[in-house]
């Protein structure tokens, strides 16, 4: 049962609080923000529940609870008592779960569309025959209410029993009142006529209200299905079988039978079944579906490859490393589902409004009835009644419930397409209000791999290559990253490096040794000064290269200067563009690094950053971020997610940059799947746009109700003679949901790469 109790976060807090467990329970039958608020309120009140977040779009309740006080069964029971469906989560893989969710969405859409279609048809027929066949209409209306509209009444009743009211309450009260009035007019018309009131019926209004609400729900279901389909596409990237090498033969086995360490063989054009590490061969792999990187990336022996990506032209074999729920693909799908399930803080406003809204609307409807009844002389009951029903119907707060979640869902999906994983509504909202971006230098702005850029010889008897060879022979035994760069450069040039005798390392200065009988010293100026080597021949080059931000290794042979090797961390291709894109967005960009000032300055110059903070340790990075925050800035920290972790956590928005394989996706608010810094600007631009969409949605949903209710109540009647019939009110209500939805869906066409 606890298979999907996802994070058994044994969070033993400092005060010795009990460990808590998180569970995601699927909830069915929720239709609007009020439903969601009710389930959430009920859950929070359960004993042992620390926190509960109910999501309308993904239909799950994420509950953090103390297992000593609450059980999954009790939580499911609590949800059911509110009138909604809930089941214990099944032990399914993330991909099966996604498929099941897709099927459920599709099924829901079909059912709603069918009911909406039939009900609409019945409504048109009812309109035509309205005044002639009232008993036949009565029967039809009962059938429609039971078949198409039953869910509204059942849920409204369940809510009522819990002293709660939601959108279903409004529909049930509105249609129920209209229906009862019509029944009375059908059964005893003489009673009305005797009192000078026409025995009008509202059957077609009842049918149309149900039909239009169903149309709105069907459109919502379709939109949800479409946004969920983006995730389904991701989940479906994984092939169903893998070709394994077993006892010298290649056999196709189902994906579930692949074990860690199995060797998988991949032919040109095939999709990789699992994550792994290449053991033979090489090929360009198209990883665009996961990273957004448009060009295929060369992968060779020792490189990691990701399941779901496409092998282009070469063939290779690789060893399976992570499988199933731990695979990169599964982690991304899970992360996205969780992200789409979270609520932006702005949502709380919508929740608070909906909870009070419904009782207030019912009160207004009653007042409307009374005022009309008193004010109108002819057929007061009929007109008062129509106005009251119109108020109930137009006030449905479903547009408000959709305003935020639809925008979050579309935006996170859009981000994923671009290789920018945004962890939910809160991260989106913060990314939208950034004003400062702090960039870590190494691995973020630069490649993070020091590379030899220049080799100079000062000894006429030695070539550049020989200088590199001498340095390489000594440095081969050193563990310093600069040494690794020299050795790698020598290897690239196909040089054989001799073995250094009497090796000695001088931390912070360099290393010495004897190579083929030559005493070699490789290190900085200080080391060579200690060895009394005259370095004046190199001084011009030293000055020039240092100004370019390069680190220098001087090489002396038998006490004389032989040459120098310059090493730099090359700047990533997209960094300059990224910085200018961030500036175009009006963001301040700060370069933060543990490196020395000249190195930092030269990198900053190259990419166009003005503010540089150099020479800071990891703790210093946290302090720097905090200092900026104290100035009132909203700070995003961009780092490679390992040594920058504390600063990422301190920042208002932590952005981890990485290949998407190694990076601890969990540690950051936003993860850039490509190593490309341009993703930061895209995330900021997308978030701003999303926030704007959310605000527009909330504004329109709110304005709609504020304007719609008085109009339905007849406020404009005395001045302009405008009166909404219940049928028009239900059409307007459906329209508001649809307009909010399509405004959110517009985000899908937005391209943040254009900034």
């Amino acid at each position: 049962m606890d298979a999907r109790v996802s994070t058994v976060t044994a969070r033993l807090a400092a005060d010795g609080a009990a460990p808590v467990v998180r569970i995601d329970i699927p909830v069915s039958g929720m239709t609007c923000a009020a439903c969601q608020a009710r389930v959430q309120r009920t859950l929070v009140r359960q004993p042992g529940v620390r926190d509960a977040a109910v999501n309308l779009m993904t239909r799950t309740a994420s509950i953090t609870y103390d297992p000593a006080e609450a059980s999954p069964e009790a939580l499911v029971h609590a949800i059911r008592s509110t009138g909604y469906g809930a089941d214990l989560p099944l032990d399914r893989s993330i991909l099966e779960e996604q498929e099941a969710a897709d099927r459920a969405y599709a099924e829901e859409y079909r059912a709603l569309a069918r009911k909406a279609g039939v009900t609409l048809l019945a409504g048109f027929v009812a309109m035509i025959v309205a005044r002639t066949l009232s008993f036949a209409l009565l029967a039809t209306t009962v059938a429609i209410m039971v078949w198409s509209g039953r869910s509204f009444y059942v849920r409204a009743w369940a809510a009522f029993r819990h002293h709660a009211a939601d959108m279903n309450t409004l529909i049930a009260v509105g249609t129920g009142a209209a229906f009862l009035f019509s029944v009375a007019a059908t059964v005893a018309p003489s009673f009305f006529v005797a009192r000078g009131v026409a025995a009008d019926t509202y059957y077609e209004a009842v049918i149309f209200i149900i039909a239009l609400v169903l149309v709105g729900s069907a459109l919502e279901a379709r939109a949800k299905r479409q946004t969920a389909a983006a995730l389904g596409k991701l989940a479906n990237l994984q092939p169903k079988t893998a070709r394994l090498e077993r006892a010298g033969d290649e056999v196709d086995v189902p994906i579930d039978d692949v074990r860690r360490g199995d060797v998988v063989s991949v032919r040109p054009g095939e999709r990789l079944p699992v994550d792994g590490e290449i053991v033979a061969g090489s090929s360009a792999v198209d990883e665009s579906m996961l990273t957004g990187e448009s060009l295929p990336v060369l992968r060779a022996v020792g490189d990691r490859v990701i399941g779901g990506t496409i092998n282009t032209t070469g063939a290779f074999r690789y060893r399976a490393t992570t499988l199933g729920a731990e695979s990169v693909l599964a982690r991304i799908v899970r992360l996205m589902r969780e992200a789409q399930g979270t609520r932006a803080p702005v949502q709380r406003l919508a929740d608070r409004v909906s909870a009070v809204f419904v009782p207030v609307v019912i009160s207004l409807a009653i007042a409307t009835f009374a005022i009309w009844y008193v004010a109108v002389d002819t057929a007061p009951a009929v007109r008062a009644f129509a106005a009251a029903v119109a108020v109930l119907v137009i006030a449905c707060p479903c547009a408000m419930g959709l305003a935020v979640p639809t925008a979050v869902m579309v935006a996170t999906g859009k981000g994923a397409e671009l290789g920018v994983l945004i962890k939910g509504g809160e991260a989106l909202q913060r990314a939208g209000s950034l004003d400062t971006v702090v960039l870590d230098k190494t691995g973020t702005v630069t490649e993070g791999r020091p590379t030899v850029t220049d080799v100079v010889s000062y000894d006429p008897h030695r070539t550049d290559v020989e200088v590199l060879q001498l340095a390489g022979a000594v440095e081969r035994r050193s563990e310093h990253p600069l040494a690794a760069a020299i050795v790698a450069s020598a290897a690239e040039r196909g040089l054989t490096l001799g073995a250094a005798q009497a090796f000695e390392s001088y931390p912070g200065r360099g290393a010495t040794g004897v190579v083929n009988g030559v005493a070699v010293a490789a290190g900085n100026l200080r080391l060579l000064a200690e060895w009394a080597v005259d370095t004046s021949a190199a001084s011009a080059d030293v000055e020039r290269l240092a100004a370019e931000g390069k680190t220098l290794v001087l090489v002396a042979a038998d006490g004389r200067l032989a040459g120098l090797v310059a090493i730099a961390d090359p700047i990533k291709a997209g960094s300059r563009d990224a910085v200018s894109a961030l500036r175009r967005l009006g963001l301040d960009v700060v370069l933060l690094t543990g490196d020395s000032e000249p190195v930092a300055r030269s990198v900053a110059r190259a990419v166009g950053i003005e503010r540089v903070v150099a020479g800071v340790l990891p703790e210093g990075k946290v302090a720097e971020v905090r200092r900026l925050q104290e100035q009132g800035r909203v700070v995003a920290m961009v780092g490679d997610g390992v040594n920058d972790a504390p600063a990422l956590a301190q920042a208002d928005l932590g952005i981890a940059i990485g290949s998407g394989t190694d990076v601890a996706i969990e540690a950051s608010d936003v993860t850039l799947m490509r190593g490309d810094l341009r993703g930061v600007a895209q995330a900021a631009a997308l978030s701003r746009r999303t926030m704007r969409t959310m605000k527009q949605n909330l504004f329109w949903a709110f304005v709609y109700n504020v304007v719609g209710i008085p109009v339905a109540a007849g406020a404009l009647y005395p001045v302009a003679g405008i009166l909404l019939s219940p049928i028009l009110a239900s059409a307007a209500m459906a329209l508001s949901s649809v307009s909010v939805l399509s405004n959110s869906l517009r985000l899908r066409r937005y391209d943040p790469r254009a900034v």
């Binding site: 309120r41 009140r45 359960q46 004993p47 006080e69 819990h162 002293h163 709660a164 009211a165 419904v358 009782p359 019912i362 009160s363 009653i366 007042a367 009835f369 009374a370 009844y373 008193v374």
Partner: protein
């Protein structure tokens, strides 16, 4: 104002009062009751 107008107005005021009592006051009371039950339960266990 006719007699039936007065009846309607009184009924409407009563209905509004009841709706607000039922959804706000009674709902809060019920919630408080449930919470204190839970608190008692927690202390007992």
């Amino acid at each position: 104002m006719h007699a039936d107008d007065i009846v309607v107005v009184i009924a409407a005021v009563a209905a509004i009062a009841w709706v607000n009592w039922y959804f706000f006051i009674a709902a809060d009371r019920q919630a408080d009751g449930r919470e204190s039950e839970h608190r008692d339960g927690a202390t007992r266990s």
